[in-house]
Homo-oligomer: 267 residues x 2
């Protein structure tokens, strides 16, 4: 998907919400567990319930790989079910030597037709470059929302700047704002502000809202650029808003609430 | 597999060779491409040809994921075919927030029964810790063998030490030499030396020998500890030693040659 299309979709739906499809059997209501393919049945209902309120779905590969062959089947059916015009992200955090990254790119783009893949930058540029392809997006981890992000990302280098800014600056030599985004945790607005200063034109994929505690108004205040420039991901807070058989209705209500709030920041 | 067993296997076979199973259809002889499951057929012959000369197999997930469901089937059949007593590594370079890393650990340990998983440390400790389980191994990327490893791993921090040493020192607070190894590229002996100074008891998984140019005698000189402490991985140089229908024989000759050289360093 091209950037112009993504921005158009955001304004049309008044939403920059990405719904994370992290299907966790332990959190499913018993009615869904009785289905032949519980993961796909769950995702199908979540997609039906949320598609009017989001522009993107993010597939967390771990939740499918956990179930081996069956999980990959559920993944394929889920991808087939997501309507066109959604920006579909493989949240895979891959990154490996050149010939291996090329294989991963084939897996996500050719085999599954994802629009984007999240990538871990520790091994440097030649692990990221095979993911740049026409119409596809590399989404590079910069500053994540988990507690131990500080272990390395916030370490200052001898240049007097934190590692995550070093990664950001180097990443800008790999791609452009038309084929690369950055992952920034939603729990620390000051980091979003800093990253926006260094990467004005780039889209930021921001998880950590909802379950992890990020605040949407702060994210928009510091994250927005003149083309919105922000995709906010919510997974658990939408998927498991209600734990009973009415889970899809719970997800719909939660997604709509977030979209309504988003629409106020967009106008 | 316990460390004592791994070391025992190394001395018994006089080999610390890990064969990387990176099946690339473009490099297969035409006879194999005609098989119903070319990847499994290829791997089966490679395993038969090399099992007397190695103690470990490393599965590069990308080469299987590229082929979707079929690739995962080939992976499962390959794992079922590897004899017991081999140390089997998922070369996956995963690492994600806590609940996601737990799912990946389930995927690799419960679903596929790997002994070990390679992990990317950019997101810090809470992304690695779910991979510690009884009898299983976390293999953390420290200093890789690819050209762009220098992008970040060699950056000096304000403490005056390179990032890869910061990662190594922090990683030592996550696990022990009985459940954690480190990935160190084989192309730079001086880095192996440095890492060995900081991590005396730990096993090092060293790729980059063969195709990438690492020298085995140098690796042993700087990498060995009093329990060997080194697994050397070769993929392409063994798998594609011969490109014709005699590929398995080519692999056998190459693996045996490496094992013979290894036996001299072990005695």
């Amino acid at each position: 998907m091209k950037k112009t299309q993504l921005v158009k979709n955001i304004y049309k739906k008044k939403s920059f919400l990405c719904v994370g499809l992290d299907p966790d059997l332990e959190k499913f209501p018993s009615s869904i567990l009785k289905e032949i393919d519980p993961i796909f049945s769950f995702n199908k209902k979540i997609i039906d319930a949320t598609k009017d309120f989001c522009v993107s779905y993010k597939i967390n590969l771990a939740f499918y790989e956990k179930h081996g062959l069956k999980g990959i089947q559920s993944l394929q059916k889920t991808l087939d079910y997501i309507p066109e015009d959604f920006f579909v992200i493989a949240d895979a955090k891959r990154g490996d030597i050149l010939n291996t990254s090329k294989m991963y790119a084939d897996a996500f783009y050719d085999n599954f037709n994802f629009d984007a893949v999240t990538l871990s930058p520790y091994m440097g540029g030649d692990c990221i470059k095979p993911f740049f392809r026409n119409g596809k997006w590399s989404i590079v981890l910069i500053a994540t929302s988990n507690p131990s992000a500080d272990d390395f990302q916030m370490l200052k280098t001898e240049n007097g700047i934190p590692l995550y800014i070093e990664v950001l600056e180097k990443a800008k030599t790999w791609g452009t704002s038309k084929d690369m985004m950055f992952v920034v945790g939603g729990t620390r607005p000051e980091i979003i502000k800093k990253i926006r200063e260094h990467a004005q034109d780039f889209f930021l994929l921001i998880p950590g809202v909802g379950h992890q505690g990020g605040d949407l108004s702060e994210i928009c205040k510091y994250g927005f650029n003149d083309q919105v420039g922000v995709l906010v991901n919510c997974s658990r807070s939408i998927l498991y808003a209600s734990k009973g058989d009415d889970f899809a209705e719970g997800s719909r209500i939660k997604a709509e609430k977030i979209q309504k709030e988003m629409s106020t920041y967009l106008s």
